[in-house]
């Protein structure tokens, strides 16, 4: 089943939606304005972050290692200082001549280990008198109570230990009350510092080398790990009008992070492909209709021109061409109307709609169909138990009813009746149904009857001048209003087309 056409009816209806055109450029502009985003490499960013993390880790490790080493070295140094101080103390002995006299024997001192920064020492008697000291004097006094002290000598760091009031023991003489001395011993910490620096440098060096290797490995691993993403992007980039295939690599499609994207792309592609196919079919069907119509006119003209003919033949030819032009006009009008309504479906109506009483639009549609119905001896019956108000343009509603009634009248046997029913349908919708007494539509054709240019039985709709656009127009219009259109048919029981439209804000007016 398909739409019937009735050129006068179609041509008489003004084409709605002319105001729509002005909004197109605006829309295109909005779509075209894309914020400029600086591009970056995901892999590069991840690698950079990995390297930064590793740098922080390396720095922390080096610091900890150096601090630990320094503490240990300090301890060792202090122990050594203690030892050296004790050695110095050991070089003090009682004089052979005067047991009460202490003397310092430098020959007992170990050889200096560091000539550049020689160790310093002082030995004082308990009364504070200097007993002995190193070649260079100690530049500072040590505060009381402290065992260790630091100072700078010629800009080099030194550490000193004080052994206070330690008794001087003698190996040979048995001295009941040993004399006590204070020993101060200082040694350069330059060597230790140098050791520490060496350690820090080597730890940092090894860490940096490791960092470099690990970064290289990480870069490789990240790039490799992201390769499904790259493959994914390549595949997605290959999608075009000519190639609707999207085959993500298996690793990409099994990646949990990419799964929603894969699904989304596949869904969108499927829908795009379908709408593209529909568009191509539409273009192809439209071209066929237009070309055939032009072919008829052209062949009529060429036939007339082939040889001289009597006047009445020319006249008959011209008349038939006028008919054909009318048909072509009708086809164009329908195609344009369909295109405009479908644009509404896509972009929304964007117009102010008043409140319309549905029954009056049905009556107007019936008036338009009356001549056709009369010619086919078909009675159209309007059943409208109550007034139903809708937020709609009355002309749009009329377009739907005219097309439905036209079909119903064309497919009903002469002398039968077509019913149009208007009712409120509870949940804020208006229902209008058109029932004919025709032969019905085979079940397998029902899903297709709202498609553009679909003709269940082309010979019949051709003979009635239809293009298969009437129901497509109804369908698009109903969709533009956010409603539903359905056809019910049991073979032999006629066809009922049911339209349900939301009443919108007209709800309260009813």
């Amino acid at each position: 089943m398909a739409s019937g056409s009735w050129p006068q009816t179609e041509a008489a209806l003004p084409l709605p939606g002319a105001e729509k055109k002005a909004q197109q450029p605006l829309l295109a502009e909005r779509a075209g304005a894309k914020p400029a985003v600086k591009s970056f490499s995901l892999a590069g960013r991840i690698i950079a972050r990995v390297i930064v993390c590793q740098l922080v880790l390396t720095a922390a490790l080096t610091t900890v290692a150096v601090l630990y080493a320094r503490r240990e070295l300090d301890r060792g140094f202090d122990a050594a200082l203690n030892g050296w101080a004790a050695n110095t103390l050991a070089a003090v002995r009682y004089s052979d001549e005067d047991v009460s006299n202490l003397i310092f024997d430098p020959s007992l001192m170990p050889a200096a280990t560091n000539r550049r920064h020689p160790d310093l020492f002082e030995i004082r008697r308990s009364n504070g008198e200097l007993l002995a000291r190193s070649a260079s004097p100690l530049p500072v006094e040590l505060e009381d109570g402290k065992t260790f002290g630091n100072f700078l000598l010629n800009g080099f760091p030194y550490r000193a230990i004080v052994l206070r009031d330690v008794p001087v023991l003698d190996r040979e003489e048995n001295i009941s009350v040993p004399q006590r001395v204070t020993v101060i011993y200082a040694s350069s910490r330059v060597a230790m510092r140098e050791q520490l620096e060496e350690l820090a440098v080597s730890v940092a060096g090894v860490s940096l080398l490791l960092l470099f290797i690990v970064s290289a490995v990480a870069a490789w691993a990240v790039r490799r790990g992201l390769s499904p993403l790259r493959e994914f992007a390549t595949q997605a980039g290959a999608i075009s009008v000519l190639n609707w295939e999207f085959r993500p690599p298996p690793e990409a499609s099994s990646a949990r992070e990419l799964a929603p994207l894969t699904t989304a792309i596949e869904t969108v592609l499927e829908r795009l492909r379908e709408s593209f196919r529909q568009q191509r079919d539409f273009t192809s069907d439209a071209a066929h209709e237009l070309k055939t119509s032009v072919a008829i006119v052209k062949s009529t003209l060429q036939t007339l021109l082939q040889r001289p003919r009597p006047e009445q033949e020319y006249r008959a030819g011209l008349e038939s061409m006028l008919d054909d032009c009318g048909r072509l006009e009708d086809l164009l009008a329908r195609m344009l109307r369909l295109a405009r309504i479908e644009q509404w479906v896509d972009t929304g109506m964007n117009r102010k709609l008043g409140v319309t009483e549905v029954t009056s639009t049905c009556e107007a549609a019936m008036a338009r169909i009356q001549a056709l119905a009369h010619a086919r001896n078909i009675r159209i019956e309007l059943v409208a138990p109550q007034e139903v108000h809708l937020q709609a343009d009355p002309e749009d509603l009329e377009v739907i009813w005219v097309n439905l009634l036209e079909n119903a009248v064309q497919y009903s046997p002469a002398g039968s009746k077509v019913a149009i029913r208007v009712e409120r349908n509870g949940e804020g919708t208006a229902r209008v149904s058109v029932q004919d007494s025709g032969p019905g539509i085979p079940e397998e054709q029902l899903p297709h009857i709202f498609q553009r240019f679909y003709r269940g039985d082309p010979s019949r709709s051709r003979s009635t001048g239809g293009f298969g656009l009437g129901l497509a127009i109804c369908n698009a219009m109903v969709a533009a209003y956010g409603g539903q259109i359905q056809a019910f048919s049991g073979n032999g029981r006629g066809t009922e087309v049911r339209v349900e439209l939301p009443v919108g804000s007209a709800d309260g007016a009813a």
């Binding site: 055939t292 052209k298 060429q302 082939q306 040889r307 010979s459």
Partner: protein
């Protein structure tokens, strides 16, 4: 020659049929849908089928495929509104001999139709010669030697058919079938009238006779001396 036009757009079918009748002198049958077209094509002997693609009931492609599957070799000229390359390739591969895309030029259509009819009869040149008899199938003129011979349209059509199948014996019913549309049976005795007219105009003034009657079988067009 008899042509079948399968086209659901009635006006286009009529225009095509009229052009074929008037400008080529062919008998034309019209079928309005694919099923009727296939039925007519299989039950009659046509010299050319003109086939639209978008047809009710059975589309042109299926008509073509089924027709060729049954071994019919009548040339088929397809009318199509879809002249995309893959579509044309598919058509030709399905057994179409040529196509014109809508809206076509009637002159080109006729030329292609005539060429297909010629080729269908194994004749490449538009001018057919039998001894010193020459038929120009484009201008539809006949001359023998230097002399132009005026024929009435039906005489020309009979001669053209015989010439296309020269040296073959053509029965009266075959002639009828190829020269008239549906209702050829009622013309059964006019063939003799046209044959005798042709004999008078072509053979009577010449020593070499070209049109011969094979008793009980039909007619044949060939130079006399080959008879033995």
């Amino acid at each position: 020659m008899r042509v079948l036009v399968v086209e659901d757009e009635k006006r286009l079918a009529e225009n095509v049929a009229r052009a074929l009748r008037e400008s080529a002198g062919y008998a034309v049958d019209i079928a309005g849908d694919g099923e009727e077209g296939l039925y007519l094509a299989e039950s009659n002997a046509y010299d050319l089928m003109v086939l639209d693609l978008m047809l009710p009931k059975l589309d042109g492609q299926s008509v073509l495929t089924q027709y060729r599957k049954k071994g019919h070799s009548t040339p088929v000229l397809v009318l199509t509104a879809r002249d995309e390359k893959e579509n044309v390739v598919r058509l030709l591969n399905a057994g179409a001999d040529d196509y014109v895309s809508k809206p076509f030029d009637l002159g080109e259509f006729l030329a292609r139709a005539k060429a297909l009819v010629r080729r269908g009869k194994g004749q490449r040149s538009p001018v057919i010669s039998v001894a010193d008899l020459q038929l120009n199938t484009i201008e539809r003129t006949v001359r023998r030697g230097q002399k132009e011979i005026a024929l009435v349209p039906m005489e020309y059509r009979v001669l053209e058919y015989l010439a296309h199948r020269q040296r073959a014996v053509i029965s009266k019913s075959e002639l009828l079938e190829h020269l008239y549309d549906y209702n050829w049976e009622k013309f059964s005795n006019v063939i003799e009238v046209y044959i005798s007219g042709l004999r008078r105009k072509i053979d009577s003034d010449y020593p070499v006779k070209l049109i011969h009657t094979v008793r009980g079988h039909g007619y044949v067009l060939r130079p006399e001396r080959e008879r033995a």
